[in-house]
Symmetry: C2
Subunit: 273 residues, 2 copies
Protein backbone atom coordinates (compact mmCIF):
# COMPACT_ATOMS: atom_id res chain seq x y z
CA UNK A 1 0.00 0.00 0.00
CA UNK A 2 1.49 3.38 -0.94
CA UNK A 3 0.61 6.81 0.42
CA UNK A 4 -0.81 8.16 -2.85
CA UNK A 5 -4.24 9.68 -2.93
CA UNK A 6 -5.86 6.83 -4.83
CA UNK A 7 -5.91 4.86 -1.55
CA UNK A 8 -9.53 4.52 -0.40
CA UNK A 9 -8.88 5.84 3.10
CA UNK A 10 -12.52 5.54 4.12
CA UNK A 11 -12.49 1.76 3.82
CA UNK A 12 -9.13 1.13 5.53
CA UNK A 13 -9.31 -0.84 8.76
CA UNK A 14 -8.21 1.16 11.82
CA UNK A 15 -5.20 -1.13 12.20
CA UNK A 16 -4.13 -0.51 8.59
CA UNK A 17 -4.48 3.24 9.09
CA UNK A 18 -2.46 3.19 12.33
CA UNK A 19 0.31 1.23 10.63
CA UNK A 20 0.42 3.76 7.78
CA UNK A 21 0.81 6.55 10.33
CA UNK A 22 3.49 4.55 12.11
CA UNK A 23 5.33 4.25 8.79
CA UNK A 24 5.17 8.01 8.26
CA UNK A 25 1.87 8.91 6.58
CA UNK A 26 0.69 12.39 7.59
CA UNK A 27 -2.90 13.38 6.80
CA UNK A 28 -6.09 14.47 8.53
CA UNK A 29 -8.02 11.53 9.94
CA UNK A 30 -11.41 12.85 8.87
CA UNK A 31 -12.72 10.66 6.08
CA UNK A 32 -10.64 7.69 7.22
CA UNK A 33 -11.88 4.28 8.49
CA UNK A 34 -15.56 5.08 8.17
CA UNK A 35 -17.63 4.08 11.21
CA UNK A 36 -14.79 3.72 13.74
CA UNK A 37 -14.41 5.84 16.83
CA UNK A 38 -11.78 8.58 16.54
CA UNK A 39 -10.41 10.24 19.67
CA UNK A 40 -8.21 13.12 20.61
CA UNK A 41 -5.37 12.43 23.05
CA UNK A 42 -3.68 14.32 25.87
CA UNK A 43 -0.59 12.97 27.60
CA UNK A 44 -0.33 14.61 31.04
CA UNK A 45 2.47 14.12 33.59
CA UNK A 46 1.40 11.88 36.47
CA UNK A 47 1.59 14.58 39.11
CA UNK A 48 -1.20 16.47 37.30
CA UNK A 49 -3.17 13.40 36.17
CA UNK A 50 -5.60 13.35 39.10
CA UNK A 51 -6.42 17.03 38.61
CA UNK A 52 -6.91 16.57 34.87
CA UNK A 53 -9.14 13.52 35.34
CA UNK A 54 -11.08 15.54 37.92
CA UNK A 55 -11.34 18.41 35.41
CA UNK A 56 -12.86 15.95 32.94
CA UNK A 57 -15.23 14.51 35.57
CA UNK A 58 -16.41 18.03 36.39
CA UNK A 59 -16.79 19.07 32.75
CA UNK A 60 -18.17 16.07 30.88
CA UNK A 61 -19.85 18.14 28.16
CA UNK A 62 -16.66 19.66 26.70
CA UNK A 63 -14.37 16.85 27.84
CA UNK A 64 -15.93 13.35 27.64
CA UNK A 65 -13.21 10.89 28.66
CA UNK A 66 -13.43 7.50 26.97
CA UNK A 67 -10.26 5.76 28.19
CA UNK A 68 -7.35 6.64 30.48
CA UNK A 69 -4.11 4.66 30.62
CA UNK A 70 -1.89 4.13 33.65
CA UNK A 71 1.32 6.21 33.86
CA UNK A 72 3.84 5.15 31.22
CA UNK A 73 1.41 2.82 29.42
CA UNK A 74 1.29 3.46 25.67
CA UNK A 75 -0.93 0.57 24.54
CA UNK A 76 -4.67 1.19 24.89
CA UNK A 77 -6.51 -1.43 26.93
CA UNK A 78 -9.94 -1.07 25.35
CA UNK A 79 -9.62 1.08 22.26
CA UNK A 80 -6.99 -0.74 20.19
CA UNK A 81 -5.01 -3.79 21.27
CA UNK A 82 -1.44 -3.71 19.97
CA UNK A 83 -1.54 -0.02 19.12
CA UNK A 84 1.12 2.42 20.30
CA UNK A 85 -0.05 5.91 21.18
CA UNK A 86 3.49 7.25 20.58
CA UNK A 87 3.55 6.45 16.87
CA UNK A 88 0.03 5.64 15.66
CA UNK A 89 -1.35 9.17 15.26
CA UNK A 90 -0.36 11.05 12.13
CA UNK A 91 0.94 14.13 13.91
CA UNK A 92 1.69 15.34 17.45
CA UNK A 93 2.36 18.51 19.38
CA UNK A 94 4.91 18.96 22.15
CA UNK A 95 3.96 21.63 24.69
CA UNK A 96 6.25 23.37 27.15
CA UNK A 97 4.89 25.91 29.63
CA UNK A 98 1.65 26.38 27.68
CA UNK A 99 3.25 26.81 24.24
CA UNK A 100 3.68 24.41 21.30
CA UNK A 101 7.45 23.95 20.98
CA UNK A 102 7.52 21.18 18.38
CA UNK A 103 5.22 19.44 15.87
CA UNK A 104 6.34 15.91 15.09
CA UNK A 105 5.21 12.67 13.40
CA UNK A 106 5.93 10.49 16.42
CA UNK A 107 6.75 11.11 20.07
CA UNK A 108 8.89 8.13 21.00
CA UNK A 109 11.83 10.39 21.81
CA UNK A 110 9.61 12.62 23.99
CA UNK A 111 7.91 9.77 25.83
CA UNK A 112 8.29 9.62 29.62
CA UNK A 113 7.29 6.90 32.05
CA UNK A 114 5.22 9.37 34.05
CA UNK A 115 2.89 10.30 31.18
CA UNK A 116 -0.81 9.47 31.54
CA UNK A 117 -2.71 9.21 28.24
CA UNK A 118 -6.31 10.47 28.11
CA UNK A 119 -8.52 9.58 25.13
CA UNK A 120 -11.35 12.05 24.67
CA UNK A 121 -14.45 11.63 22.53
CA UNK A 122 -16.01 14.37 20.55
CA UNK A 123 -16.61 15.98 17.25
CA UNK A 124 -16.11 12.95 15.03
CA UNK A 125 -18.84 10.79 16.57
CA UNK A 126 -20.89 13.88 17.07
CA UNK A 127 -21.00 15.09 13.47
CA UNK A 128 -21.66 11.61 12.15
CA UNK A 129 -24.63 11.33 14.51
CA UNK A 130 -26.04 14.61 13.19
CA UNK A 131 -25.47 13.66 9.57
CA UNK A 132 -27.13 10.25 10.08
CA UNK A 133 -30.13 12.22 11.38
CA UNK A 134 -30.24 14.08 8.07
CA UNK A 135 -28.61 17.28 9.29
CA UNK A 136 -25.90 18.60 6.93
CA UNK A 137 -22.74 20.25 8.29
CA UNK A 138 -22.38 23.73 6.83
CA UNK A 139 -18.60 23.90 7.45
CA UNK A 140 -18.23 20.77 5.34
CA UNK A 141 -20.42 22.20 2.57
CA UNK A 142 -18.28 25.37 2.59
CA UNK A 143 -15.09 23.36 3.08
CA UNK A 144 -13.78 25.34 6.04
CA UNK A 145 -12.77 24.31 9.57
CA UNK A 146 -15.75 24.50 11.94
CA UNK A 147 -16.15 27.88 13.67
CA UNK A 148 -15.22 27.74 17.36
CA UNK A 149 -15.98 30.50 19.88
CA UNK A 150 -14.68 31.14 23.38
CA UNK A 151 -17.73 31.85 25.56
CA UNK A 152 -18.21 33.65 28.86
CA UNK A 153 -19.38 30.38 30.44
CA UNK A 154 -16.67 29.02 32.74
CA UNK A 155 -15.63 25.41 33.28
CA UNK A 156 -15.66 23.93 36.75
CA UNK A 157 -11.95 24.24 37.59
CA UNK A 158 -9.82 21.44 39.07
CA UNK A 159 -6.32 21.95 40.42
CA UNK A 160 -4.42 24.14 37.93
CA UNK A 161 -6.95 23.53 35.12
CA UNK A 162 -9.43 26.35 34.51
CA UNK A 163 -10.85 28.56 31.81
CA UNK A 164 -13.87 29.29 29.65
CA UNK A 165 -15.91 26.76 27.69
CA UNK A 166 -15.33 26.84 23.94
CA UNK A 167 -18.20 25.92 21.64
CA UNK A 168 -18.62 24.88 18.05
CA UNK A 169 -21.46 26.43 16.04
CA UNK A 170 -23.58 24.71 13.43
CA UNK A 171 -26.44 26.50 11.66
CA UNK A 172 -29.49 24.22 11.86
CA UNK A 173 -32.73 24.58 9.87
CA UNK A 174 -35.58 25.50 12.20
CA UNK A 175 -37.48 22.39 11.11
CA UNK A 176 -34.53 20.18 12.05
CA UNK A 177 -33.82 21.75 15.44
CA UNK A 178 -35.84 19.27 17.58
CA UNK A 179 -34.10 16.42 15.78
CA UNK A 180 -30.64 17.91 16.32
CA UNK A 181 -31.33 18.32 20.05
CA UNK A 182 -32.83 14.85 20.39
CA UNK A 183 -29.99 12.91 18.74
CA UNK A 184 -27.13 14.77 20.38
CA UNK A 185 -28.69 14.61 23.85
CA UNK A 186 -28.34 10.83 23.53
CA UNK A 187 -24.54 10.94 23.11
CA UNK A 188 -23.17 12.33 26.37
CA UNK A 189 -19.83 10.70 25.48
CA UNK A 190 -19.60 13.12 22.53
CA UNK A 191 -20.57 16.54 23.97
CA UNK A 192 -24.30 15.74 24.40
CA UNK A 193 -27.09 18.33 24.17
CA UNK A 194 -26.52 21.81 22.76
CA UNK A 195 -25.19 24.24 25.35
CA UNK A 196 -26.94 27.21 23.75
CA UNK A 197 -29.28 27.99 20.86
CA UNK A 198 -29.88 31.34 19.19
CA UNK A 199 -28.53 34.77 20.18
CA UNK A 200 -24.72 34.44 20.33
CA UNK A 201 -24.48 37.30 22.85
CA UNK A 202 -26.28 35.12 25.38
CA UNK A 203 -23.01 33.26 25.94
CA UNK A 204 -20.70 36.22 25.39
CA UNK A 205 -20.02 35.86 21.64
CA UNK A 206 -19.73 39.42 20.33
CA UNK A 207 -19.60 38.70 16.59
CA UNK A 208 -20.77 35.41 15.11
CA UNK A 209 -18.75 36.18 11.96
CA UNK A 210 -15.50 36.30 13.91
CA UNK A 211 -14.86 32.90 15.46
CA UNK A 212 -11.86 32.51 17.76
CA UNK A 213 -10.77 29.37 15.88
CA UNK A 214 -11.80 27.99 12.47
CA UNK A 215 -13.73 30.03 9.92
CA UNK A 216 -17.12 31.73 9.75
CA UNK A 217 -19.91 29.89 7.97
CA UNK A 218 -23.13 31.15 6.35
CA UNK A 219 -26.28 31.20 8.49
CA UNK A 220 -29.34 31.20 6.21
CA UNK A 221 -32.61 33.02 7.06
CA UNK A 222 -34.43 29.81 8.01
CA UNK A 223 -31.61 28.63 10.28
CA UNK A 224 -30.61 29.19 13.91
CA UNK A 225 -27.07 28.98 15.27
CA UNK A 226 -26.69 26.01 17.62
CA UNK A 227 -23.73 25.81 19.99
CA UNK A 228 -22.21 22.67 21.51
CA UNK A 229 -19.42 22.45 24.11
CA UNK A 230 -16.15 21.57 22.40
CA UNK A 231 -12.84 19.87 23.18
CA UNK A 232 -10.87 23.08 22.56
CA UNK A 233 -12.01 23.90 26.11
CA UNK A 234 -9.41 21.45 27.44
CA UNK A 235 -6.64 22.96 25.31
CA UNK A 236 -7.28 26.33 26.91
CA UNK A 237 -7.41 24.79 30.40
CA UNK A 238 -4.09 23.06 29.74
CA UNK A 239 -2.57 26.33 28.53
CA UNK A 240 -3.89 28.11 31.62
CA UNK A 241 -2.41 25.39 33.82
CA UNK A 242 0.97 26.28 32.34
CA UNK A 243 2.32 22.73 32.82
CA UNK A 244 5.99 22.41 32.00
CA UNK A 245 5.35 19.48 29.65
CA UNK A 246 2.36 18.01 27.79
CA UNK A 247 2.00 15.98 24.62
CA UNK A 248 -1.13 16.01 22.43
CA UNK A 249 -2.06 14.97 18.94
CA UNK A 250 -2.28 17.70 16.29
CA UNK A 251 -5.87 18.96 15.81
CA UNK A 252 -7.73 16.92 13.15
CA UNK A 253 -4.94 14.32 13.27
CA UNK A 254 -6.37 12.00 15.88
CA UNK A 255 -6.29 8.42 17.11
CA UNK A 256 -8.40 5.92 15.15
CA UNK A 257 -9.61 3.12 17.44
CA UNK A 258 -10.82 -0.42 16.72
CA UNK A 259 -14.17 0.42 18.35
CA UNK A 260 -17.20 1.08 16.16
CA UNK A 261 -18.73 4.47 16.91
CA UNK A 262 -22.01 2.90 17.97
CA UNK A 263 -20.19 0.71 20.49
CA UNK A 264 -18.45 3.58 22.30
CA UNK A 265 -21.08 3.78 25.02
CA UNK A 266 -20.63 0.08 25.83
CA UNK A 267 -16.89 0.35 26.54
CA UNK A 268 -17.09 0.41 30.33
CA UNK A 269 -20.01 -1.96 30.82
CA UNK A 270 -19.37 -5.08 32.91
CA UNK A 271 -18.03 -7.98 30.81
CA UNK A 272 -19.89 -11.22 31.56
CA UNK A 273 -18.01 -14.33 30.45
Amino acid sequence: MDFSDNVDYGSLSPREARLLFREGLVRQTSGMCYGYLQLSMKMIPQRHAFDFLLFCQRNPAPQPVVEVLEPGVYEPRLLATGADVRTDCPRYRVWNHGKVTATVNEITQYWRDDLVTFFVGGSFTFERTLMKAGIPMRHNEENVPIPIYVTNVMTNPAGPFWGPIAVTMRPIRRSMLPRAIEVTSRIPSAHGSPMWIGDPQGIGIADIDKPDFGKRVTIKPDEVPVFWACGVTANMAIQNANLDFVLTQEPNHVFISDIREDDARFLNLPVIV
Copy 2:
Protein backbone atom coordinates in the same frame (compact mmCIF):
# COMPACT_ATOMS: atom_id res chain seq x y z
CA MET B 1 -35.41 19.95 68.04
CA ASP B 2 -34.68 16.83 70.08
CA PHE B 3 -33.61 13.38 68.88
CA SER B 4 -36.77 11.56 69.92
CA ASP B 5 -38.57 9.40 67.46
CA ASN B 6 -41.55 11.70 67.08
CA VAL B 7 -39.41 13.87 64.79
CA ASP B 8 -40.74 13.61 61.24
CA TYR B 9 -37.36 12.72 59.71
CA GLY B 10 -38.81 12.44 56.21
CA SER B 11 -39.70 16.11 56.08
CA LEU B 12 -36.49 17.50 57.60
CA SER B 13 -34.41 19.65 55.29
CA PRO B 14 -31.00 18.17 54.44
CA ARG B 15 -29.34 21.01 56.34
CA GLU B 16 -31.40 20.27 59.46
CA ALA B 17 -30.53 16.58 59.20
CA ARG B 18 -26.82 17.29 58.79
CA LEU B 19 -26.86 19.57 61.84
CA LEU B 20 -28.56 16.86 63.90
CA PHE B 21 -25.82 14.42 62.89
CA ARG B 22 -23.20 17.04 63.71
CA GLU B 23 -24.76 17.37 67.17
CA GLY B 24 -24.59 13.61 67.70
CA LEU B 25 -27.70 11.97 66.24
CA VAL B 26 -26.97 8.44 65.01
CA ARG B 27 -29.54 6.74 62.79
CA GLN B 28 -29.89 5.24 59.31
CA THR B 29 -30.48 7.89 56.67
CA SER B 30 -33.10 5.89 54.82
CA GLY B 31 -36.46 7.55 55.31
CA MET B 32 -34.87 10.94 55.96
CA CYS B 33 -35.22 14.14 53.89
CA TYR B 34 -37.54 12.69 51.30
CA GLY B 35 -36.56 13.54 47.72
CA TYR B 36 -32.98 14.63 48.35
CA LEU B 37 -29.94 12.89 46.93
CA GLN B 38 -28.10 10.66 49.41
CA LEU B 39 -24.54 9.56 48.70
CA SER B 40 -21.97 7.23 50.10
CA MET B 41 -18.49 8.64 50.72
CA LYS B 42 -14.93 7.36 50.48
CA MET B 43 -11.99 9.40 51.71
CA ILE B 44 -8.85 8.15 49.95
CA PRO B 45 -5.27 9.35 50.51
CA GLN B 46 -4.06 11.61 47.71
CA ARG B 47 -1.41 9.23 46.45
CA HIS B 48 -4.13 6.71 45.56
CA ALA B 49 -6.74 9.24 44.44
CA PHE B 50 -5.90 9.12 40.72
CA ASP B 51 -6.12 5.33 40.72
CA PHE B 52 -9.41 5.36 42.60
CA LEU B 53 -10.93 7.98 40.29
CA LEU B 54 -9.70 5.87 37.37
CA PHE B 55 -11.29 2.79 38.98
CA CYS B 56 -14.58 4.71 39.09
CA GLN B 57 -14.21 5.93 35.48
CA ARG B 58 -13.64 2.33 34.37
CA ASN B 59 -16.52 0.91 36.41
CA PRO B 60 -19.34 3.44 36.22
CA ALA B 61 -22.10 0.87 36.78
CA PRO B 62 -21.05 -0.17 40.31
CA GLN B 63 -19.30 3.10 41.13
CA PRO B 64 -21.03 6.22 39.74
CA VAL B 65 -19.06 9.22 41.00
CA VAL B 66 -21.13 12.34 41.58
CA GLU B 67 -18.61 14.74 43.14
CA VAL B 68 -14.93 14.62 44.08
CA LEU B 69 -13.23 17.16 46.35
CA GLU B 70 -9.65 18.34 46.17
CA PRO B 71 -7.19 16.91 48.74
CA GLY B 72 -7.93 18.16 52.24
CA VAL B 73 -11.20 19.85 51.24
CA TYR B 74 -14.11 18.88 53.52
CA GLU B 75 -16.84 21.21 52.22
CA PRO B 76 -18.68 19.94 49.14
CA ARG B 77 -18.66 22.35 46.22
CA LEU B 78 -21.88 21.23 44.54
CA LEU B 79 -23.71 18.91 46.89
CA ALA B 80 -24.07 20.99 50.05
CA THR B 81 -22.62 24.44 50.66
CA GLY B 82 -21.50 24.90 54.26
CA ALA B 83 -21.54 21.19 55.04
CA ASP B 84 -18.58 19.39 56.61
CA VAL B 85 -17.98 15.82 55.48
CA ARG B 86 -16.10 15.11 58.73
CA THR B 87 -19.10 15.60 60.99
CA ASP B 88 -22.28 15.63 58.92
CA CYS B 89 -22.79 11.89 58.39
CA PRO B 90 -24.31 9.95 61.28
CA ARG B 91 -21.56 7.33 61.47
CA TYR B 92 -18.13 6.60 59.99
CA ARG B 93 -15.65 3.77 59.59
CA VAL B 94 -11.88 4.06 59.93
CA TRP B 95 -9.99 1.49 57.84
CA ASN B 96 -6.38 0.43 58.27
CA HIS B 97 -4.81 -2.09 55.91
CA GLY B 98 -8.17 -3.32 54.61
CA LYS B 99 -9.83 -3.74 58.03
CA VAL B 100 -12.29 -1.59 59.97
CA THR B 101 -10.39 -0.49 63.06
CA ALA B 102 -12.88 2.02 64.47
CA THR B 103 -16.51 3.08 64.08
CA VAL B 104 -17.12 6.66 65.11
CA ASN B 105 -19.68 9.47 65.00
CA GLU B 106 -17.31 12.01 63.49
CA ILE B 107 -13.85 11.89 61.94
CA THR B 108 -12.38 15.29 62.75
CA GLN B 109 -9.59 13.68 64.77
CA TYR B 110 -8.81 11.27 61.89
CA TRP B 111 -8.90 13.90 59.15
CA ARG B 112 -5.74 14.46 57.10
CA ASP B 113 -4.93 17.17 54.58
CA ASP B 114 -4.13 14.54 51.96
CA LEU B 115 -7.60 12.96 51.99
CA VAL B 116 -9.67 13.12 48.80
CA THR B 117 -13.43 12.74 49.32
CA PHE B 118 -15.45 10.85 46.70
CA PHE B 119 -19.26 11.05 46.74
CA VAL B 120 -20.85 8.07 45.03
CA GLY B 121 -24.44 7.71 43.88
CA GLY B 122 -26.43 4.58 44.15
CA SER B 123 -29.06 2.59 45.87
CA PHE B 124 -31.04 5.46 47.38
CA THR B 125 -31.87 7.21 44.10
CA PHE B 126 -32.15 3.86 42.47
CA GLU B 127 -34.80 2.34 44.69
CA ARG B 128 -36.85 5.51 44.70
CA THR B 129 -36.83 5.44 40.89
CA LEU B 130 -38.12 1.86 40.89
CA MET B 131 -40.78 2.58 43.50
CA LYS B 132 -41.98 5.65 41.58
CA ALA B 133 -42.41 3.31 38.61
CA GLY B 134 -44.73 1.17 40.74
CA ILE B 135 -42.22 -1.56 41.54
CA PRO B 136 -42.19 -2.56 45.23
CA MET B 137 -38.96 -3.48 47.01
CA ARG B 138 -39.23 -6.95 48.50
CA HIS B 139 -36.47 -6.38 51.07
CA ASN B 140 -38.47 -3.43 52.39
CA GLU B 141 -41.67 -5.47 52.52
CA GLU B 142 -39.80 -8.18 54.45
CA ASN B 143 -37.89 -5.58 56.47
CA VAL B 144 -34.42 -7.03 55.85
CA PRO B 145 -31.25 -5.52 54.36
CA ILE B 146 -31.16 -6.04 50.59
CA PRO B 147 -29.43 -9.27 49.50
CA ILE B 148 -26.01 -8.63 47.93
CA TYR B 149 -24.00 -11.25 46.02
CA VAL B 150 -20.37 -11.34 44.93
CA THR B 151 -20.36 -12.38 41.25
CA ASN B 152 -17.74 -13.96 39.00
CA VAL B 153 -17.80 -10.82 36.83
CA MET B 154 -14.65 -8.79 37.41
CA THR B 155 -14.25 -5.02 37.56
CA ASN B 156 -11.82 -3.27 35.27
CA PRO B 157 -8.91 -2.82 37.66
CA ALA B 158 -6.99 0.44 38.16
CA GLY B 159 -3.75 0.68 40.11
CA PRO B 160 -4.17 -1.32 43.33
CA PHE B 161 -7.98 -1.44 43.04
CA TRP B 162 -9.41 -4.70 41.72
CA GLY B 163 -11.96 -7.38 42.47
CA PRO B 164 -15.33 -8.83 41.52
CA ILE B 165 -18.53 -6.90 40.92
CA ALA B 166 -21.10 -7.20 43.70
CA VAL B 167 -24.78 -7.03 42.78
CA THR B 168 -28.03 -6.38 44.59
CA MET B 169 -31.00 -8.61 43.75
CA ARG B 170 -34.62 -7.54 43.57
CA PRO B 171 -37.39 -9.97 42.60
CA ILE B 172 -39.47 -8.27 39.88
CA ARG B 173 -42.88 -9.39 38.60
CA ARG B 174 -42.61 -10.60 35.00
CA SER B 175 -45.15 -8.01 33.93
CA MET B 176 -43.07 -5.21 35.47
CA LEU B 177 -39.71 -6.32 34.06
CA PRO B 178 -39.70 -4.06 30.96
CA ARG B 179 -40.58 -1.12 33.17
CA ALA B 180 -37.81 -1.91 35.66
CA ILE B 181 -35.25 -2.10 32.86
CA GLU B 182 -36.51 1.05 31.18
CA VAL B 183 -36.46 3.32 34.23
CA THR B 184 -33.13 2.15 35.62
CA SER B 185 -31.37 2.34 32.24
CA ARG B 186 -32.11 6.08 32.38
CA ILE B 187 -30.15 6.62 35.62
CA PRO B 188 -26.53 5.80 34.78
CA SER B 189 -25.53 7.93 37.79
CA ALA B 190 -27.25 5.33 40.01
CA HIS B 191 -26.08 1.94 38.67
CA GLY B 192 -28.11 2.08 35.41
CA SER B 193 -29.49 -0.99 33.60
CA PRO B 194 -29.63 -4.42 35.24
CA MET B 195 -26.36 -6.33 34.88
CA TRP B 196 -28.12 -9.69 34.78
CA ILE B 197 -31.64 -11.13 34.81
CA GLY B 198 -32.70 -14.67 35.66
CA ASP B 199 -30.49 -17.70 36.41
CA PRO B 200 -28.15 -16.67 39.27
CA GLN B 201 -25.52 -19.19 38.16
CA GLY B 202 -25.02 -17.17 34.98
CA ILE B 203 -22.97 -14.71 37.03
CA GLY B 204 -21.49 -17.23 39.43
CA ILE B 205 -24.05 -17.09 42.24
CA ALA B 206 -24.28 -20.64 43.61
CA ASP B 207 -27.25 -20.22 45.96
CA ILE B 208 -29.71 -17.34 45.68
CA ASP B 209 -30.82 -18.03 49.26
CA LYS B 210 -27.32 -17.38 50.61
CA PRO B 211 -26.35 -13.80 49.84
CA ASP B 212 -22.83 -12.66 50.73
CA PHE B 213 -24.24 -9.56 52.46
CA GLY B 214 -27.75 -8.69 53.63
CA LYS B 215 -30.52 -11.26 53.91
CA ARG B 216 -32.37 -13.57 51.52
CA VAL B 217 -35.77 -12.42 50.26
CA THR B 218 -38.71 -14.38 48.86
CA ILE B 219 -38.92 -14.81 45.10
CA LYS B 220 -42.51 -15.57 44.11
CA PRO B 221 -43.48 -17.86 41.21
CA ASP B 222 -44.41 -14.98 38.90
CA GLU B 223 -41.16 -13.11 39.60
CA VAL B 224 -37.64 -13.15 38.18
CA PRO B 225 -34.50 -12.18 40.08
CA VAL B 226 -32.98 -9.00 38.65
CA PHE B 227 -29.38 -8.06 39.49
CA TRP B 228 -27.88 -4.59 39.45
CA ALA B 229 -24.22 -3.63 40.00
CA CYS B 230 -23.76 -2.33 43.53
CA GLY B 231 -21.48 0.00 45.48
CA VAL B 232 -20.20 -2.82 47.71
CA THR B 233 -17.96 -3.52 44.69
CA ALA B 234 -15.83 -0.53 45.68
CA ASN B 235 -15.56 -1.68 49.29
CA MET B 236 -14.07 -4.98 48.11
CA ALA B 237 -11.72 -3.17 45.71
CA ILE B 238 -10.57 -0.92 48.56
CA GLN B 239 -10.01 -3.96 50.79
CA ASN B 240 -8.05 -5.68 48.01
CA ALA B 241 -5.94 -2.55 47.56
CA ASN B 242 -4.93 -2.93 51.19
CA LEU B 243 -4.40 0.83 51.64
CA ASP B 244 -2.92 1.74 54.99
CA PHE B 245 -5.66 4.30 55.67
CA VAL B 246 -9.16 5.01 54.34
CA LEU B 247 -12.23 6.65 55.84
CA THR B 248 -15.80 5.86 54.75
CA GLN B 249 -19.28 6.39 56.08
CA GLU B 250 -20.99 3.46 57.78
CA PRO B 251 -23.28 1.54 55.42
CA ASN B 252 -26.83 2.95 55.41
CA HIS B 253 -25.54 6.02 57.28
CA VAL B 254 -24.76 8.25 54.34
CA PHE B 255 -24.41 11.87 53.32
CA ILE B 256 -27.65 13.78 52.65
CA SER B 257 -27.09 16.48 50.05
CA ASP B 258 -29.02 19.67 49.23
CA ILE B 259 -29.60 18.37 45.68
CA ARG B 260 -32.98 16.98 44.72
CA GLU B 261 -32.70 13.45 43.37
CA ASP B 262 -34.12 14.48 40.02
CA ASP B 263 -31.46 17.18 39.68
CA ALA B 264 -28.48 14.84 40.17
CA ARG B 265 -27.90 14.43 36.47
CA PHE B 266 -27.67 18.20 35.98
CA LEU B 267 -24.84 18.68 38.50
CA ASN B 268 -21.99 18.93 35.99
CA LEU B 269 -23.80 20.76 33.20
CA PRO B 270 -22.34 24.12 32.15
CA VAL B 271 -23.70 27.01 34.24
CA ILE B 272 -24.83 29.91 32.03
CA VAL B 273 -25.12 33.20 33.92
